[in-house]
Symmetry: D3
Subunit: 302 residues, 6 copies
């Protein structure tokens, strides 16, 4: 069960509105790696967790924190959309560009009115939406909660890596002190969260519950071991042989990397079976497909 | 530019068809972590790669291999759908369940006809589709190619973890020797690919191009360092203090983990600005929203 | 900012697992009118609210409660998926249906294994997912937060009506005392929430902030008033004249309903303009579309 | 069965084209509350209606009217896209902005070419699309037809509220007399349709077929009545106690509102069961997950 | 503007309900090539048509007919869902399968309850939905209206081919005389519509408005003609040389087919440029990415 | 199994970057008829093909070629995004528009920064994405592989028609010699591919495997032949009688077109059955819906 405090975890308002920046920063709310993703991902992982209590508690702690991050960004977007120009040309204004040159101030407004997210005007009335920076809605396929904690912690590490990368890019794309201050808090939390998942991975592996390759509880003698440590070079040229993945002991310590320079198919040519003529696909020869329900029925009965 | 050989990378056909299993194994083709995902993800990462040639080549090698994995699974699904029952009750059959008991053999067919993916009959004519196990289509938001290789390699490691987990689950859900043999090859390749991404991460970090926290080229003095290594306990109870993430040197070696047991908000209550009355949102008091174009026009003109 | 308590708002576990029912009850988590919808809808409405504090606080209170409803249902699904049959036929079992008749107990398991949501096995490892009962993911277009509180409260009233209807249907579809007990709590909360939105609508209208037709701040003399209270009968037969909407004073008290039995078009036939020949659409006569960049360039330059 | 007349229900063409406005007004065609939504929602509700004939007829009448509203907007968009600039800089033109200042006229065209919906050029050849203002396609989850008419009429009231709000916002965002005239007709129809659904709700409740809480045919003694009229305050502060929903007789007349200032969980901590080791989730202790098909098979057989 | 008659274009009710068949036949309503697709596709093509009046009128005629096809199928689904089993086991029933053998009649109901579309119970109350046979919603990307009539008529021919194929498959999957009778009408209409689009293609080409290759108004001397009639053999083996596409005069009569047995790349290796360090992608060498806003600012200013 | 060569099939880099054009040309990668569609469509058709080897081989040849087309466009987008302006106003710049007039050069950059696809900056770091020109992701419902080759070849012909039309429109929208050169190669390939599918259709029909109407293996005496060649005029006015589809021998040679000027319904008014009261829909009269589990149980038991 959940509770709310009215204050934000952290916040400095933008000094100036910027509706185009508001469109872009929607990526951090509703994008594939936005705050809605980490919020819902950690909550579902926590709710689905069957492992030790410390993992479940930790997952729900951070998931609960992330709800507040959506809240911070929604508030920031409200400020960024303040005074958004709702028309490309306001009444009484001159030709916008000439007007700008002649001393008017609305040129930036014309561009903003044209390029801002129209749904910020029409749909949400200058509020944040549950969408990314191109207006595509957040959806449940963005999250993962598999029940296997190492698989999921790797996802979390990844999400925080993309998340921090995107927050940093938004930071670089702004000159507003308020925006930059708030983002510098969120970037710091992303630093923690990358460290947290690296630590959780170490903790989980130390606990003996899971290790590489995931899932480690699957007996490796059931897989085709001869192909389990080979790199297949599917292209002309061998630049790909120069990496750590092409030679030496494998990272799980259970094999030796091998570089297969000219890989050849091991399987046969496919020969998919001929389907039921009642589905009227194209068979290998015309006679095979004398279809139709009545015909078929006659054939199949007697 | 790409080329094709007609033989499959590896393949054993199923011994018996099983249309319900065909529905389920679609997850490995078109699911969030299916072969279409890794195929498209590695190809786009390769095409977008601006780093050293060995990474680009390696990405395109593995991406090209994965096209062949979709091919293997599509072939398997064609075999699994062979002789799929197209009706819940075929002509001339008795009551299906009683018939089964009385010596008939169609009871499993009745259940299969009811539960199989209808699109395997109606849409694809017993062929594989570009969808997951519930028929939801694969889509481009399943992949990531950010330009930052460490962020992306972490994604790849994660994808191969979920991918191997799902392939193992499908292996456990089958008794068919052909299916199990083919999957044991794919699981082995997933073992390699998890190792490959762990190796690529090490290789990339050793190269000095990137490290934790991602992106490492962002100067950490620009983030709010005091919050960069704190775990915030957003719940009653402190089980979450028991993990590696709550104490000791941080994983990036740049800080000390700190456990904040009773975290308090640092920010103010939000006070979003009042929006333009022409958008007809609900203001704080009735007088504020005397809207309407004519009114506004009068006001704004003079 | 948000906090979590480990206990659930309310909960009785199911007495028996039922994986098919687990598939169905996903509708109440991730369906169009599931708990994720009301949770995110109320939170976004609260964060976007510019009206009096009591509305904002109320919206965030109920939004915070709804997070806990997702939590309750996720927990219920974990119980319902306990012991889910992962194969259509377990090792050592006889022909499933005959086996059932002969004293075996697995017939229901065969049906369950065929019909349950495959992603509950393959993707989530017997945990809840952020999807509806057919596996379609929850998405951000399910919610609305327009900034106009009367429009939004009507949405909320509607969502709670569909939500209670669906919860009641799930209640009727179960015989499990635990499931029914938990649902009877959720249905009671839906009763409250329908009443709450009816009350909020009255409260808001009494405050003078908004009334019918929404948005009431738009001057009605700007709309074509002669069509604002007419019912147009677009079909043969006049059964539609028998309702309250066809006669009498309009509900907003500002007009008289009028029934237009044989409505006729008021506008002209459309005459869309001919598009740019460089887009190579089909024009009204062949000569018009002598396209191609070089031609165009020649024409437009000299 | 349906018929078509070539004239539009109502229409004034725009005086001037405006491709950016065309992008925005797509919201009224293919947005969540656009004309495609009400058209398909009313038609499906009519087709699914099992209630008295007057409701079915009325639903199909208004659904049929709404097809014509899509037609009107599609025609308007064709006019708005007339002469759309297909390049950011036409041949022979000077630097666009400088050109504008120097007497050229293309500055607005440069901005328009950059900001208009690219699919209006590339995909539809200057015609309307079945998408919203950010290009996201209309989809079937936007509509509801539940079989319960009160639930659905509340949805319809809501859709017409959002629809009129959005049409009004588009009206405010334009200075074009043709656009404003056509919208003032559509806004008037929305006024009628809000009134119509308010009337239909009253009519339906008067008929004794349905009332609050929906569905009223569910016996309320089956729900946990003690929680059916409580407002739970999930936050610090009690502003939410100031509304109509916190005290007095409930709106359905069946209870008394009660304000619960410090709500506490009524349920236990969740204890989800340990899943099947063959799914290779993370268990509470390492020994539990000795998985793998062969192991399992051995165990489960004997 | 549109009108409605209450009778259906054609209809025979099913003799017996069949909820699983109802799930499947949703494909013909809301699938990629269902009636919603052709309805919306023809209407949008008609509304966007700038060509001769006969095409526009014809498009709107058939689009209007198709609205009635959705109506017919929605009615059929209502009948097929009659008496749908809402529980897997009704009160008082014995173990379902054993019960069946012992003389009970509910075995088919158990299977149906497990396999039917849950949303037909929970969401639509036994009515049709705007989704396909796996519950995926119809969406606006299913349709095309490009402004080029030959391109679009080819789409229409294709849609009617898939549509008739799917209707035939549904016909073959049923034994119900009512279902088969109604489908035999719809299949006949599909026969007409395939013929109609073949005729429209001929008519359009005869009119001189468009021909192959589409768009024919683009001057072919602007394309690289040397590659415009070559078949590239991207695989080992030359079975693909045996078709009409590999030799002889091209179908547009403007070239000669040529079979390129060993195609080689004509382009260079890609060398994408190094991106802005402020985006923190991985560069070719570490020094290049000394990022961070303050650093950058210093560099770029002075 | 697949292989890669590092060179591109064909390529000339753009002479100048243009981030807005990069946004638009995404349509050719990830749009409904972009290269991802033809690539995946031909590969799945090839994998699912059960017809003669020459068709399967040909499908996989062209599918393999199309992978390389995605590669070419991804490379082009990387070049177009070079030096993309990451801020609307760079540090040290003056007011952007005034600055432009005063001799600055950044006006175009301001517009570009506002209008470019934000995900090209935030998500992909100046690389291509698997989305269309409005950022909507490519998805598996864009492709078709039905098993019936004539149905599918018609789809392929259509896809190449829309594809060439869109490539031509992009060609017309650019002045960059590199872009135009590369597109002129792709347009030539589209010319071939339209011809190829026209040839494949002829080849397939000549083979006797399939003809009109698709599927030709369905006996036409099972359809309602009296409606199989009628055009129904669903509107006032008879312009639609002027086309080839309204008179003469039908295109399949099996009937005579007939123009039905005043079509009337052949079916009855719908009378959908009353649903189960446990689903709490609205019945025709109040008494019918005395619902609720306990009531029902009582009724149904005794």
């Amino acid at each position: 069960m959940f509770y709310h405090k009215k204050q934000l975890q952290y916040f400095k308002p933008p000094e100036k509105p910027d509706a185009v920046y508001a469109k872009k920063i929607q990526e951090l709310i509703g994008g594939t790696f936005g705050e809605m993703t980490v919020m819902m991902q950690y909550l579902f992982q926590g709710w689905n967790c069957r492992g030790p209590a410390k993992y479940r508690d930790m997952l729900l702690d951070i998931g609960t924190e992330e709800i507040g991050h959506v809240e911070m960004l929604a508030t920031m977007i409200a400020h960024l959309l303040d005074n958004a120009p709702i028309k490309m040309q306001e009444d009484g204004a001159q030709d916008p560009i000439v007007g700008a040159v002649m001393g008017g101030t609305s040129a930036r407004d014309v561009i903003t009115a044209a390029a801002m997210n129209p749904q910020h005007l029409i749909v949400s009335g200058l509020g944040a939406t549950a969408s990314d920076s191109v207006g595509f809605p957040w959806n449940g396929r963005f999250i993962v909660a598999s029940g296997n904690l190492l698989a999921d912690f790797r996802s979390n590490l990844h999400a925080e890596s993309q998340g921090r990368l995107q927050a940093v890019r938004m930071y670089e794309m702004s000159d507003d002190p308020g925006v930059k201050d708030t983002l510098s808090f969120m970037i710091a939390r992303d630093t923690m969260h990358q460290n947290q998942w690296l630590a959780a991975i170490e903790d989980l592996q130390d606990s003996g519950l899971e290790t590489s390759p995931v899932p480690s509880s699957f007996p490796q003698d059931l897989e085709k071991g001869e192909f389990a440590y080979q790199f297949w070079n599917h292209s002309e040229g061998t630049e790909s042989s120069e990496g750590r993945w092409a030679k030496g002991t494998s990272m799980d310590g259970k094999g030796e990397f091998e570089y297969v320079e000219n890989p050849q198919p091991l399987g046969p040519e496919p020969t998919p079976p001929q389907p039921d003529p009642r589905l009227h696909g194209t068979p290998q020869n015309p006679a095979a497909n004398s279809g139709g329900d009545s015909t078929i029925r006659r054939t199949s009965i007697g």
